[in-house]
């Protein structure tokens, strides 16, 4: 009798198993929500870093116009990714037109949650995950556009860059992410394409798009002399540039973490973007050893050049990102060292042999290293069962992804910049470029207490003459000769 009363009271006082299960499920969702929220916060540092990096690299006459590009990237990519980009990711996994090779079980109903008017993209008490997941991808989109930003500085129009960043950040990269960086992407489900932390889908694609733009944009005036020899424009604030790079590196930890999936009541543990198991510790080790190897490779290949040493670190990380969920730290160290070395030679070749003026080495650091990274997976992680269909990753599958993404990225970059060039909307007038973009864009000099010293050229007889008029006339002569 007493025991039945006690059990009755206990039953009334305590929660049932179902209630506890509901509470655990809710807690799990809220932890997931918090996790992605803080990755977004950390990833903001990437953009602080890009702004500092590029602002420092620019000459003092172009400081604010350079920084404004990074700031307004957020203003244009955010709405365009919300209205169009996320829908592309959710609904184009099978390719366009549909290849019919995606698994119907990948993420059921996801496409319907990616339209801007859907329940997944507004306030919804029943959904703690969709919005923070969207935000993580939005930060990837900013990053993709910002990779292009630095390469174009000091001569591209702000508005042209913004239009290009919308195409790259809200269409091109997210289309390739739908194909090769989602559990239901046709490259994944059919070919086992494996690019866990976005070597190619973010970095490589942004680099290839940038290359297409640079071909139409042309070099900065004075970058190459009459014999085609490259001239180095020195950063106006190297300290800020180095700090910017370190901030980018810090933000990369948030980027890496945001590339994983976690929800304890739905999955047994950490998953990569293809919903294959991994751990947060594994990828954190790879990124850290990637920096170590990359710095080392960059330092030795460039014989201690500070720019290429730091860029080598970035290239090293990008080289091992594709396989960061499966690589041993020692393998990551070795591969990233090779990536850090190769990027120095590729970057120098692009600048001096191809005569493409990439102000920050983005095509080499992000483009080359991104493609190199997915190739390495085919060699060193071949056979790994990728994605929900467990298709083995392979050299051929990785090549298939590279062949799909190279034109997907390069052609839109080339085509849109060609159209802007035809409309005379791509590049600033040469007089403005020589004087500096800040005076034209903002009507002020942002270092008023420092004297503006005109650039000079030393003539063969030893006299210093102002470079502007000579460079302007030379530029006009080149334009006339092309007509």
């Amino acid at each position: 009798m007493v025991s039945s009363i006690l059990s009755s009271l206990l039953a009334q006082a305590g929660p049932t198993i179902e209630e506890l299960a509901d509470q655990v499920r809710l807690d799990s969702q809220i932890l997931t929500e918090q996790f992605y929220f803080y990755t977004v916060v950390v990833m903001w540092l990437i953009h602080v870093g890009f702004m500092a990096y590029e602002g420092g690299i620019a000459r003092r006459k172009n400081l604010m116009s350079t920084a404004m590009k990074n700031i307004l990237t957020i203003a244009v990519v955010t709405p365009s990714f919300y209205y169009f980009g996320w829908y592309v990711y959710g609904c184009f996994e099978e390719g366009w037109p549909k290849s019919g090779h995606a698994s119907p079980d990948a993420l059921p109903g996801f496409c319907g949650l990616t339209a801007p008017w859907s329940a997944g993209l507004g306030p919804n008490l029943q959904d703690h995950v969709s919005l923070v997941f969207f935000l993580a991808f939005l930060l990837f989109s900013w990053t993709t556009a910002s990779i292009m930003s630095g390469a174009l500085i000091e001569r591209v129009r702000l508005s042209a860059y913004l239009l290009l960043s919308v195409v790259l950040g809200s269409f091109v990269w997210i289309m390739d992410a739908a194909w090769g960086w989602s559990s239901g992407g046709w490259l994944v489900t059919r070919f086992g394409f494996h690019d866990a932390i976005a070597s190619l889908v973010v970095h490589g694609v942004a680099g290839a798009f940038t290359l297409g733009v640079l071909l139409n944009l042309g070099p900065r005036i004075g970058k190459y002399d009459a014999l085609g020899r490259a001239r180095s424009f020195r950063p106006h604030n190297l300290h800020i540039t180095l700090m910017g790079l370190m901030l980018i590196f810090t933000g990369f930890y948030g980027f890496y973490a945001a590339c994983l999936v976690i929800q304890s009541t739905a999955f047994p543990g950490w998953l990569n973007i293809y919903l294959s198991p991994t751990t947060l510790g594994a990828i954190a080790m790879v990124i850290t050893f990637g920096f170590a190897g990359g710095f080392t490779g960059g330092w030795f290949a460039s014989k201690g050049d500070p720019f290429w040493t730091l860029s080598g670190g970035l290239a090293g990380v990008i080289s091992v990102s594709a396989g960061a969920d499966v690589y041993h730290p020692s393998l990551a160290y070795l591969l990233s060292a090779s990536g850090g070395m190769l990027v120095v030679w590729v970057g120098t070749w692009i600048e001096k042999s191809l005569r493409i003026d990439d102000a920050v080495g983005a095509v080499a650091v992000h483009g080359f290293s991104g493609f190199y990274g997915v190739l390495l997976v085919g060699i060193f992680a071949g056979g790994y069962p990728t994605g929900i269909n467990n298709v083995p990753s392979s050299f051929g599958g990785q090549l298939m992804g590279m062949l799909a993404f190279l034109p997907l990225a390069f052609l839109p970059g080339y085509a849109v910049s060609w159209l802007l060039k035809r409309a005379n909307l791509l590049r600033v007038p040469p007089e403005v470029e020589l004087e500096g973009l800040d005076l034209a864009e903002f009507q002020q000099d942002f270092y008023p207490e420092f004297e503006r010293v005109p650039e000079v050229i030393v003539t063969p007889d030893g006299h210093e003459v102002e470079a502007g008029p000579i460079l302007l006339e030379d530029y006009r002569a080149v334009i006339r000769s092309r007509r």
């Binding site: 929660p15 244009v76 209205y83 859907s118 329940a119 507004g122 008490l125 239009l163 007038p429």
Partner: protein
């Protein structure tokens, strides 16, 4: 679930409430279209305003053959 305050009851009251309508509603469609119009208009504005600034500055430099900011746009905003 909670016995300290009627959270479930409040939650039911506000669960379906979105400012200007719920998911897949007319209000949300209208807000989406207005947002897209603002986005496209802003992109167009970036192009036009910058073109005016650059052309003014380039003209001033060609005319004066020197450095310095161009005069600001006239109050009507035309370029």
């Amino acid at each position: 679930m909670f016995d300290s305050f009627p959270y479930d009851e409040w939650g039911e009251d506000i669960a379906d409430f979105w400012a200007w309508g719920g998911a897949n509603s007319t209000g949300t469609y209208i807000m989406t279209v207005l947002g897209i119009i603002l986005m496209v208009g802003a992109l167009y504005g970036f192009v036009i305003l910058e073109r005016g600034k650059l052309e003014r500055q380039a003209e001033a430099l060609r005319g004066a053959a020197g450095l310095g900011p161009a005069p600001p746009a006239n109050p009507t905003g035309s370029v």
